[in-house]
């Protein structure tokens, strides 16, 4: 018996069948094609048409590539179907784990008064804006009902450090419960660090708590974006950063930035600030169109096209820095690349189908209200309570099977959303019902007018475009 099958067993001269795939124009005659699970390559428009019309020569390079990427198969072949099913199942396996990220707003009070902030209150009214021990306990009861064996609790604000007693209580209780139930629990505090004290750091060290802080750029920009009494947000941040790194280790203190209109022409300076402070990651983020950001017109102060230019210029600068030996990566690009190149979903709520709201992440507000996502409670601050899915006093089943959540998730399936279902970038994207409801009053929204769609399609196209350069491709794919 020969080691190899006869030539007649191969595709040469045979007709072929199509598998589900989508495509999008990158530019002129160059198209991106993606299969059912997001594997992709670039193809010439004529080759694409020939492939769809069954005119591709089965001994051509294009056909081989299409066959290897499961765009086509030969009648009788089973392995492409089985492989696609296996990859699809792997891509969606997180659904079985249900909620992993649980955010707790322990205080809405804050020492800052940022124009774009969605939710914070400059108030001394502890009773009114802090989470009580009772609400925290009830939240924990729900958190530990998740079938997921590993979960993360993120303390949010306002400024969560203003209610550190409740953080301490929750951490200790959660650790006990996790031990009892055989689950793994991790903690993060989202804080500006301006009120960080030594005893807090010691507690964080003892309980392996990570800090996610905020840095908007150089001193003048940061202080201008983040006003507080004494106008010293940056100075306090810097002092705390050194201390936090000393106690917790550099890898346990990360930073996020928010782009305001004052940031738009300063992306290189912002990145330089991150590099000079020794950060190995930066997340170039636009403003969210919620709460105070919209009320104060901060969100309307720039268009998404301007932000895209900011992002592209920033990403290019980061790539150039890496080529010079500075190790820094852009987080959003990394999330998207992980979706493009692996079947391991990074669980970024905005880029999930069905949407990650409620089922990947959920938020317990200071007053006991439960929201489907961080953005949902911000929307509630504008008086839109569409995504309030319950209260800590409700039964777990009533919260997570609430009509509010089910309807939003149902409408968030990109495979059945207009334009999304035929988009080449669908496997990487989401439909973000909270954004579309907040902006356009509709869970689905009209995609051609959607700023969410414009932003993400712009980024997907850009990532495909820059990966045409082999050196850049190797460099950024290494971030995953």
């Amino acid at each position: 018996m020969s080691k190899f099958a006869a030539l007649s067993e191969y595709a040469v001269g045979k007709d072929y069948l199509l598998l589900p795939f989508t495509f999008a124009k990158l530019k002129a005659k160059e198209y991106v094609v993606t299969n059912l699970v997001g594997e992709s390559f670039l193809i010439d428009r004529d080759d694409l048409e020939n492939l769809v019309l069954h005119k591709s020569a089965t001994n051509s390079k294009v056909f081989s590539k299409a066959r290897a990427h499961h765009l086509v198969y030969i009648e009788g072949e089973k392995s492409p179907l089985e492989l696609l099913a296996l990859k699809y199942r792997t891509r969606k396996r997180h659904l079985k784990n249900f909620t992993t990220l649980h955010m707790m707003v322990v205080s809405l009070r804050c020492d800052h008064s940022c124009q774009y902030c969605q939710v914070s209150r400059q108030s001394e009214d502890v009773e009114r804006f802090d989470m009580s021990i009772d609400t925290a306990n009830k939240s924990l009861e729900h958190i530990f009902r998740t079938p997921s064996t590993s979960l993360k609790i993120e303390f949010q604000g306002g400024e969560p450090l203003l209610n550190f007693d409740v953080i301490e209580h929750v951490v200790q209780e959660a650790e006990n419960k996790a031990k009892e139930l055989g689950k793994d629990v991790q903690f993060v505090i989202a804080t500006t660090m301006t009120l960080l004290e030594d005893y807090m750091l010691d507690f964080c060290k003892e309980h392996d708590i990570k800090l996610s802080t905020s840095l908007d750029g150089p001193e003048d920009l940061h202080n201008s974006n983040r006003p507080r009494p004494g106008k010293d947000s940056y100075q306090r941040f810097r002092a705390s950063l050194d201390k936090a790194r000393d106690v917790l280790g550099k890898q346990n203190v990360s930073a996020l930035m928010t782009t305001t209109n004052k940031s738009l022409d300063r992306v290189e300076e912002i990145i330089d600030e991150y590099v000079s402070l020794g950060f190995s990651e930066i997340f170039l983020r636009p403003l969210s169109p919620y709460g105070f950001a919209k009320k104060t017109k901060a969100y309307d102060s720039y268009q998404i096209d301007e932000w895209l230019q900011f992002y592209k210029k920033g990403l290019n600068y980061i790539i150039q820095l890496n080529k010079k030996g500075h190790k820094i990566k852009e987080i959003y690009t990394t999330i998207i690349l992980r979706k493009m190149l692996t079947f391991d979903d990074p669980l970024y709520v905005d880029l999930m189908s069905p949407a990650g709201i409620g089922i990947s992440a959920v938020i317990f507000n200071y007053d006991g209200a439960v929201y489907a996502s961080d953005e949902s409670r911000m929307l509630a601050e504008m008086g839109i309570e569409k995504f309030k899915i319950g209260n800590v006093n409700n039964q777990y089943e009533d919260i997570f099977a609430s009509d509010a959540l089910i309807e939003a998730i149902d409408e968030s399936m990109t495979v059945s959303s207009p334009m999304c279902y035929e988009c080449a970038y669908e496997p990487y994207c989401g439909s973000d019902p909270v954004f579309h409801y907040g902006m356009y009053g509709d869970l689905v929204g009209r995609k051609p007018q959607s700023a969410f769609c414009k932003k993400n399609m712009g980024i997907f196209e850009h990532i495909f475009e820059i990966r045409k350069n082999q050196e850049t491709k190797n460099l950024i794919e290494n971030w995953v």
Partner: protein, 95 residues
């Protein structure tokens, strides 16, 4: 005055035309009437200063793409169901 397109529906399906029009809904609104094999599309530009000839060229290209997409969908609808059914068989995600 609206711009008018007349499309032969033996060449492009009404669905393909609608899909293409949706993609351009940020540039123009449309009104469709269908008689026999002729689809008449009245187009009103959202921005009066937009270059209709340029938009028309892009729209024609989009129509071609949409008819390809329609063909892929028609040919792969059944196999998609088979793959998805297989993907979630024997899992606790769906009963």
């Amino acid at each position: 005055m609206p711009e008018v397109l007349e499309i032969d529906t033996t060449v492009y399906s009404v669905e393909s035309v609608k899909e293409a029009l949706y993609r351009f809904s940020d540039s123009f609104s449309s009104n469709l009437t269908h008689n026999d094999n002729l689809l008449r599309v009245e187009i009103t530009l959202t921005n009066g200063n937009a270059d209709w000839n340029k938009l028309r060229t892009e729209f024609d290209k989009e129509l071609l793409d949409q008819s390809l997409r329609e063909r892929i969908r028609a040919e792969t609808e059944d196999i998609r169901r088979v793959i998805l059914a297989h993907a979630f068989s024997n899992t606790s995600i769906i009963d």
